[in-house]
Amino acid sequence: MSDENTTPAAPKIPAQPGPRKALLEIDNVLLRFGGVVALNGISFDIQEGEILGLIGPNGAGKTTCFNVMTGVYKPTSGAVRFRGERVTGRKPHQISRLGISRTFQNIRLFPEMSALENVMVGTDSRHKTSVPGALFRLYRVRPKPEELPEVTASGGILRTWQQLRRSMAKTFGLSRHILEERAAEDKAMELLRFVGIADRANDEARNLPYGYQRRLEIARALGTEPKLLCLDEPAAGFNPAEKEDLLGLIRRIRDRGVTVLLIEHDMRLVMGVTDRIVVLEFGSKIADGRPEEVSRDPRVIAAYLGEPADAA
């Protein structure tokens, strides 16, 4: 492992005065299903700008924890706070607007929609146009200079027409719908390029190869402009080369200023990319620290790692 991977994220984020801010606090969360305790008073937090790994053996409560954070389950007691605001009790779409987004362990794209549209659903969440706006297009905004219609024709009627359109847009503005539509498409395209699948932007999601689908999920989640991105086993079914690619992608996501929570089975992956690791076992937290500390923790070794050699 290179040094870069194992040192905490501190150098990468701008120095902050005082103690570092917790982006997400999980405060003594207890979750019961009938008589079964799924999460037993778990507390940890996620710092802004870090990559946090959440690991644990099967059935340890990782995905459950995830579902509490994203509003799928309501905890029996305790609270989840995002930048000081309670997440608990909010509906999934509200949580998404707060700035938490996620991918799904078993890929859940919109199969009949194109890759680009999948991402646009994400970017749409920052837009306002609803039925009246899309139908009547009466709500006008003053476009920025670069948003004005271009004049490309060299002459003739076409040029006159384009000039007319441009001056109309200058005087009366453009409909918010059109501007948002364009912004959504540009943003989505940029994200597809970012995750490296822009070459198949127009293909329906169900026709994409597996690796593309996983990346598309990430792009779609990034479309909602999250502060915190939760990845649920993003490397499942990947070969080592693909995993290596994914590591790079996760780091680049963090470099965009997005905090990443990573649930993962693959120890190597977690050790290689995370700044900090939280370990769950039977619904309780058993360790929380830097990867190298956690990998030396005897309880973690006993519970999860089996042999210490495996971790390093």
């Binding site: 999934p92 659903v121 609803s130 297009r137 070459d199």
Partner: protein, 385 residues
């Protein structure tokens, strides 16, 4: 046998796809011209006299129905199909009570526009209005649209939280309730007697009407097809917007859509309301044209027919559902021998399409975005994964 059908179907779909691809490859102005030509043809249809095509006319058989009348019915059904497609095809909500909205639209113009209706009589008595007074047709159009929209919201608000199949059954019940209320509430709807003298654009039906009479149906068809074209344009705008994407996302995976920031309830309610408004407007046109309605015209079977139009043609794409609507409205009129068996045929068609080709007869592809930098993109396509 089934394999043979599948093979045939596949080659049919491929042929349609290649036609569609060739169409898309045409320059924009040619496509525009083609579209204008198609619209002109639609308006010309009731006069259809091109040699070689006249056999299409329903009055080319002995005792056949008025050709323009059949076209009018087709246009109304297309309007219904487009509205129901928003609900079923785009938002993925199975509405089995669509006839209820159709009936509300029809009764709106009947109750407010006809001197025959108890509601108008009540207004006349209450405000000392002359016995010929009734709400004008254009205002009735607005009332029909708004009433249907509101009833869509009222039905949708409590029920849209239900699971899909429960929603279907509840809407079925709703359609029946509307019909039974229309039949039983005699003080308001005149019950089984029905309401006559429903106005058209020129006022109540009378032999003096110049354009929208009872004999010549052509103007009615032209009116209906104009409404259809406007609605197609409007629904297309929605379909290719943030709203349309939200509907599709909800249809495909509601939970995932919610996590991506789509508020499913809000957009489902919009879909329901828009569908209801379109259905109501179709009912409004229907009632204006026939000038008479009674509760038996809003049988629940029609709801099933509407669903059949949408799913057989291809839910989710407007060409598909329109083709479905035209087929189901036109074929029994032109081929009288099969008219008796239309319900059997619809039932069989629904079953076969669901088992063999759930996406419907007309293949659809989401419109590919015309990406500015598509070519450049392909070149620099990274070798990831």
């Amino acid at each position: 046998m089934i394999d043979k059908i599948r093979d045939l179907d596949r080659s049919r779909v491929n042929a349609l796809h290649s036609v569609a691809d060739r169409w898309r490859a045409l320059p924009k102005w040619q496509r525009g011209l083609g579209f204008v030509a198609f619209v002109v043809f639609l308006y010309y249809l009731p006069l259809l006299g091109i040699p070689g095509l006249t056999w299409l006319r329903t009055d080319s058989i002995s005792g056949g129905s008025n050709w323009a009348g059949v076209l009018f019915t087709c246009a109304v059904y297309v309007l219904v199909a487009i509205g129901l497609n928003v609900v079923i095809g785009l938002a993925g909500l199975l509405d089995l009570g669509y006839i209820g909205f159709f009936a509300i639209g029809a009764y709106a113009v009947a109750l407010f526009g006809s001197v025959n209706s108890p509601v108008v009589k009540w207004f006349q008595a209450e405000f000392d209005l002359p016995a010929t007074w009734a709400v004008t047709w254009a205002v009735c159009a607005f009332i029909a649209l708004v009433l249907a929209l509101i009833s869509g919201v009222i039905l949708g608000w409590p029920t849209l939280r239900l699971r899909g199949d429960y929603l279907a059954i509840v809407t079925l019940g709703f359609g029946e309730i509307i019909r039974i209320v229309a039949r039983n509430a005699e003080g308001v709807t005149r019950g089984p007697q029905g309401i006559a003298a429903i106005p058209g654009p020129e006022g109540p039906p009378s032999p003096d009407n110049q354009v929208f009479g009872l004999i010549d149906v052509k103007p009615w068809y032209w009116l209906a097809i104009t409404v259809v074209l406007i609605m197609v344009f409007a629904v297309r705008r929605l379909e290719h917007s943030r709203v349309g994407r939200s509907w599709l996302a909800i249809r495909e995976d509601e939970d995932a859509a919610a996590v991506m920031g789509v508020y499913p309830f809000k957009f489902k309610l919009w879909a329901f309301a828009i569908g209801a408004a379109l259905g109501g407007f179709a009912g409004f046109l229907f009632a204006s044209r026939y000038a008479f309605i009674d509760p038996t015209q809003f049988n629940v079977n029609l709801s099933i027919l509407f669903v059949a139009m949408v799913v057989v043609g291809g839910s989710g794409n407007m060409v598909g559902v329109s083709v479905g609507a035209v087929l189901l409205a036109y074929l029994p009129e032109r081929f009288r021998e099969i008219a008796d068996y239309r319900w059997l045929a619809f039932g069989l068609a629904m079953v076969l399409v669901m088992i063999l080709r759930p996406q419907g007869l007309i293949p659809s592809r989401r419109r590919a975005r015309e990406l500015k930098d598509r070519a450049a993109e392909a070149e620099e396509a990274p070798a990831h994964v």
